[in-house]
Symmetry: none
DNA sequence: TATGAATGAGGGTTCATTCAT
DNA sequence: GATGAATGAACCCTCATTCAT
């Protein structure tokens, strides 16, 4: 009963991601989204009470995906292989990660947004958990000094992933560069 | 003769910087700027044809300041001291640097914006020039491998500077952490 | 055979009355009505082509009820007792009467509305008929001057019923005040 | 400096009054108002932050006018002449009075509205004050019983003024009818 | 030159109404 | 007959920009 939906959640989130990456959070409008999905603005309002509700739900969706992705890192491999895996996966979610950075700019006007923001806060820990394990593996292998803060190191890694690719390296080469920098810094491995 | 300007460029740029940091590029409006300077919006329009023109000019202004700052690094010191100096200076322009990051989001609608964007591209090189010298110093001291791309390394450094300070370290400690990561990566100095 | 109706007319008019009194005519929406009856909006549209059609039909329904109520005034009692009865009954339909006042604000867009508005006009006479009898009784008892227009006097009575109860009198006291004013005006009975 | 206003406050309030009487508070929109004044909607927003602010200010304006009008009743005349004067003046503000009745339906969303509502409350007393004097005059002349509540009686008078003119009497005759009803009620003067 | 006033385009949102199952 | 989904028109409001003094 009732007629068939013209657009699925999947389609909606895909279009949302595209648009957020193209025009940013403030540039993102229901008009644009509706146009891209070839539906009316009102149709979206049937499912989301307002723009903020939609955006925060989108972010939770992306976060869940990211968590699942990072949780799939094989904890049985050695540190270097785990790091490889980690960097590849983080690189694949690079764009989305930037979009998620906008979460902080969503004003908390509705109860729903407040709740979802709290949820996102909790998910942040879930996202970091597998990464902390990688760092720990590094420490247990004696590769990383015990005293270094995993959070800080992960912060650096996340930042490094977002480096602009001015030199237009291939993803493989770019990731290789990142890996070298992340592991050994400016000084590099081969020196001294 | 004629009426005296009610506001100087200096005041205007200061107010612009404050506002951009407070509300972001999209939140930045002529209304806000006029209010802060206690002048009318129309007065600003006399000097800048539109919002984008003003923003791009502001960025050129900040870039010039940044270039001057980074050019003041003493090329006679050794690599580590230069790097220290570099990081401290970059840290002090951290916020502005983030604001500059918004440059990419300015749509190129007017001829003026297109020209200034090109100019900014050129200035980017000027900004990097003193930094490349630091890297070169590192290479000449045998600290950095010859084959590594200075641009890439600088990109990493810039990214690292922007790391979020979740652990609320003091600036001194934060810079210390950055330095260690930038120099030696995850692996760190004391290992191997 | 056919699905059973999920809601009766009675239920629908009850819900309509509640809502109109709560939110007014313009605040009244099919969404609210559907929600209160726990059915879909479309189900209402099956029975009423549009909002105005429903509202005008609702008013005819209320009018019929009001007519029946006022017709129950016992024409055999004397003037004062009839007036008592009248005021009590009018007071009990006070809210609905106010709601009916909104009828005039319904735009006559459909043929149905136009017809029903005419019907309402006719019913207005039916509503007034028993009241005119009360006035006539007053005249025949020599309480009311023959020359006075019954319609006009009834208009005054209806207006008086709607007086705002700023002093928060009990209904009994309020009705008593009304009665005194309606019968004797400002000057009052006990004077002269 | 700056260009000349295309519309004065006076014009704006006149157009507002017309529209409110034509379409009611909820039917009143900035679009309609702008169209009638032949200006853009945005021009109105320059002067009033939102619809409610405008409406509440309009009501204060009308209230001030009404107060001035009623204060001009000559307190030295006798009761009947004062009442005459009163009814004539109230009749002339009949429409506005109906519009003022809508004040209660304005939602209090902004601070400004809340303040103005309080102000209106105070003005209500100012409006009633000269009327209470008329009642008092009636009492001192022995025309009105001492125990009767002036507020209640004024409520009745206000209601009576709003009676619908179904019989299309001339204003003079209508006022005459009102006066008779208000003074002597149904029973009338000449009886007993 | 600086200003107050005015404007048009566009964003967020609601609602009466229609359509397809 | 009942439903869920979709729609377009209209509303409130903001903002970049222009105009006339």
């Amino acid at each position: 009963m009732g007629r068939e939906k013209k657009f699925s959640r999947e389609e909606l989130w895909d279009a949302t991601r595209e648009l957020v990456l193209e025009v940013g959070y403030t540039g993102f409008t229901f008009s644009l989204l509706a146009e891209r999905l070839d539906i009316s603005r009102a149709a979206i309002y049937k499912q989301f009470h307002n723009k903020e509700d939609l955006m925060i739900d989108y972010m939770v969706y992306e976060m869940e995906f990211s968590i699942a992705l990072l949780q799939s890192i094989d904890a049985n491999k050695d540190f270097e292989h785990q790091l490889d895996d980690l960097l590849n996966k983080m690189y694949s979610m690079k764009d989305v990660h930037q979009a998620l950075g906008l979460a902080t700019t969503i004003p908390s006007t509705t109860e729903h947004v407040i709740q979802q923001k709290q949820k996102l806060g909790g998910m942040h820990r879930d996202l970091y958990a597998p990464l902390v394990k990688v760092i720990d593996q590094g420490k247990s292998e004696g590769k990383i000094a015990q005293h270094r803060s995993a959070n800080m190191l992960l912060g650096f890694i996340f930042q490094t992933i977002d480096v602009p690719n001015f030199e237009r390296l291939t993803p493989e080469n770019l990731i290789q560069e990142m890996k070298e920098f992340i592991l050994y810094g400016l000084i590099g491995k081969n020196i001294e």
